[in-house]
């Protein structure tokens, strides 16, 4: 990026709220069911039906609004956004127009150069999702699946405060992390529960005036958002350098070719003819509801990070990993509460546990690991009851069978041998069998001792206390 221009980015994010039922009827919102099996007269928009709003969706939206430090509208009103499309059964979408549920919020992101910066949230409003079209190009037929129709969405619109593709990436990361902490959406971009459109324009540095804005759609991964913005930033810069005008338009991200392509060159001004939905009576947000939602708010990622650093004396880097997801942070704290060695627990979680999580689709919850079990493994290892190697084996076995770690140690005979008498004969045997190494050690090669310790470990199937074995070997050899 040159020094002449400044990039201005605003993001529109649609979050699918993970209510069990749809925004205005009782149909299931589960993903992946057979087409048109999760529909009723209401979400099909059949003649005569009426919408009834989902209180849960509303509370979920309130949670996000509070987490984003938004002002909350006192009276909730729904509007109709009128447009024709076969996946929209009523040919209007119930949304919120001039009175969004939440407005004027912010979220803090980390920028490599500038540190913490606040990105403003213009508004967040509730709306219903549309259905899906499936095109059979061979047969020239189109099919409509209305399972998704009426699924509650929260549209979160940022201020044009984002200055680079990196920041856009960080914004999405922070937003996703926060929303996942609130447990109101799984934020799965592949399944469409988090969707993002980006508005990007360039302007001369120091200018207050915005340049022509390009909207990029079809961004279905975090990477796509960043790559598309990088591409678009360059494309617009080149255009400006060549004294060309950047045309205001909607472009699609082509992931195969790694380019944005114009969707419509001529931007037709859509007139959505918004007006208040007369089927949904406006209502006041009850103070009790606000209070209940406030009570249910979890500690949010930033606060939690700060607390972890202070309370557990961990490094920022460690905390970053531990608090990346709420269940992981919860798990960490549960283990520490059972065995109070924050750094040791941290090392285990960051190391072994993360390694096991990597193979799973979800996270710590999928592992089925009990905090008490991990605490007991760490404790046994720390106290020298089992070796580090054995500890890892106990964890693996525990993950497979769920058996109590102490039982595993007993059954497999993994207890570390720290008894001199028991080790004595083995140490003698190892010295006899490895004359060369013994001589090497005598000759001053420190490494040779590690080899001999390894031999003791092997003969004891890892049960020997390596420290003790080392000491005994040294004494015997140097006599």
């Amino acid at each position: 990026m040159s020094d002449i221009y400044e990039t201005v980015i605003g993001l529109e994010v649609h979050v699918q709220l993970s209510t069990r039922t749809k925004a205005f009827c009782g149909c299931s919102t589960a993903f992946g069911a057979e087409a048109n099996t999760q529909v009723c007269p209401v979400c099909l928009g059949l003649p005569g039906v009426l919408p009834v709003y989902n209180k849960k969706a509303f509370e979920y939206a309130l949670k996000v609004a509070m987490a984003l430090e938004c002002d909350i509208q006192k009276t909730v009103k729904f509007d109709r956004k009128n447009y024709y499309y076969p996946d929209l059964p009523k040919n209007y979408q119930i949304s919120q127009y001039d009175m969004p549920l939440a407005y004027n919020g912010k979220i803090t992101i980390e920028d490599e150069e500038e540190g913490s910066i606040d990105i403003g949230i213009t508004r967040a409003h509730l709306e219903e999702d549309a259905g899906k079209l499936m095109h059979d190009e061979q047969q020239a037929f189109s099919y409509v699946d209305l399972n998704r129709t009426g699924t509650p969405l929260l549209e979160i619109v940022s201020e044009p405060d984002i200055r680079s593709p990196e920041q856009a990436y960080e914004y999405l990361k922070a937003l996703k992390q926060t929303i996942k902490y609130l447990d109101v959406s799984d934020c799965n971009m592949e399944e469409g529960s988090l969707r993002c459109d980006a508005n990007v324009s360039l302007r001369r540095k120091g200018s207050e005036k915005f340049g022509s804005k390009v909207e990029i759609k079809n961004l279905n991964s975090f990477k796509a958002v960043r790559d598309a913005l990088v591409f678009e930033q360059l494309r617009q810069e080149e255009a400006l350098e060549e004294q060309e005008k950047v045309i205001q338009q909607t472009r699609l991200w082509n992931e195969q070719k790694n380019v944005t392509e114009p969707m419509r060159t001529k931007e037709e001004a859509q007139d959505y003819r918004y007006f208040p939905d007369p089927d949904l009576v406006p209502f006041e947000v009850a103070p009790e509801v606000l209070e209940r939602v406030r009570q249910s708010m979890p500690e949010l990622p930033r606060r939690r990070k700060e607390r972890f650093v202070n309370q557990y004396r961990l490094s920022e880097k460690d905390v970053e990993v531990l608090t990346s997801e709420k269940p992981l942070a919860d798990f960490y704290e549960a283990v520490v509460s059972e065995y109070n060695d924050p750094q040791a627990v941290c090392n285990w979680v960051k190391g072994e546990i993360m390694m096991h999580i990597k193979d799973r689709p979800k996270g710590i919850e999928d592992l089925g690991l009990k905090p008490g079990h991990l605490a007991s493994i760490i404790e046994m290892s720390k106290k020298g009851k089992i070796s580090g190697l054995a500890a890892k084996e106990v964890l693996r076995e525990n993950l497979d069978s769920g058996k109590d770690p102490e039982m595993i140690v007993k059954e497999k005979g993994l207890e570390q041998v720290s008894d001199k008498g028991e080790l004595e004969s083995i140490v003698v045997k190892v010295i006899e069998q490895n004359e060369k190494s013994v001589n090497d050690y005598r000759g001053g090669k420190e490494n040779a001792l590690s080899y001999l310790v390894g031999q003791v470990m092997r003969q004891t199937k890892g049960k020997a206390n390596p420290k003790l074995a080392g000491e005994m070997l040294r004494k015997k050899i140097t006599g």
């Binding site: 003649p47 009128n82 209007y92």
Partner: protein, 484 residues
Amino acid sequence: MQDILSSFEHYHKWLREHEEPVAETAGFLTDRIRQIEPDIHAFIRLDKERIVCRGRSLDERSQGGALWAVPVAIKDNICIKGELTTCASHILDGFRPPYNATVIEKLLAENALLFPGANMDEFAFGSSCETSFYGPTRNPWDLSRIPGGSSGGSAASVASGEVAAALGSDTGGSIRQPAAMCGVVGFKPTYGRVSRYGLIAFASSLDQIGPITRNISDCARMLEVISGYDANDSTSVDSPVPKYTESLGKQIKGMTIGLPEEYMGEGIDEDVRRSVTESVDVLKRLGAKIIDISLPHTKYAVSCYYIIAPAEASSNLARFDGVHYGYRSPKSDDLIDMYVNSRSEGFGKEAKRRILLGTYSLSSGYYDAYYLKAQKVRTKLSQDFDRAFSECDCIVTPTAPNTAFKIGERMDDPLMMYLSDVFTIPANLAGLPAVSVPCGQDRNGMPVGLQLMARPFDEEALIKVAHAFESETAYHKMFSGGCG
């Protein structure tokens, strides 16, 4: 033919005396209707087999229910599971709802005998029942005249003695105005009193389902059955439903009834004015105190209505697009064509006129000047009523400025047609309960209607006054005769 349907009570007595199964009665009633229908055309369709079948299912149940075996005509915009429901429009060709409207559930729970398919103006757009895709309904009192609209089929079916009662829907007077023109009772409950779930919407903020009957006591019975909170309708109001039948036979001595000057001025047929004036005298004689009141914003009601109602209608009717159900034009090459052709061929002239009107007034740049302004006028109108009801318990007016006109007379003059509802529209805009009761005849023998309006949720006041009036007069006993 014996007028067995003159009242529910009379009909029930007849049923008891004849000891015939409901299935038989259903067949007999359907045959009677079939004789009358060529003249009246109150029904778009009449499926004898289904009606007899419903009668048979009633026979299998224990007798009882407030509406046991009572034949009730259902306006064609109220959904009945598995039954064709078309809003008298081509665009809903073949549509059978997979669910029952809440009012239908309630009628069924009281064992009513449903007669679906009552004719109406297409999508309830009209004041004469002439815009039906299936052809107009005729007034039983004079077959050359309109029955009033849009629940013209419902009103005519009751007036001609085809059925004992009917359900209509009232957006700007569509229950009261045809009731007045057919000489029967038509009741529009308070907005939110009766669930709209299953009523194919015309204008959501104005629509309300209500009964049409031969007399006010049957009306009270019907109202008692269909009223009440419905969790499926966010606009339905959660307040207890009084026993409306207990308001029958009550004295009206001491009640204050307001007579708004704006409703008795120019443009009113002389015979209508005379009948209303005489009716006011009757109320006075019954001990009511009559006072003059003013509702100054009445003159804006029609303009205001013709902004709000089409605006909502344009959005409500967007779902009829030939994609998911109903009529789809066979002559389409692409998606836009499919929409355009299906809607062009599926909707009638008046429906298109209103869709265009509504689309225009909601468009960006016009919204503030039309829709928003109309909403403000609507508030002013409601305030007029609030003021009036601080002085009186009830307001009395003519239901319509004139009696039933000739078929075709106003078809080419939409503005004149729109004025048929000038006195009924204010109650819809303000969400008030209102009733029309027969109160006289004009020089041609056509019935005149008297409208009563009350405070929101004070349906009881209307029943009380209407019943007292009915007990003192014989207009409700007049019968169109054509079929009696």
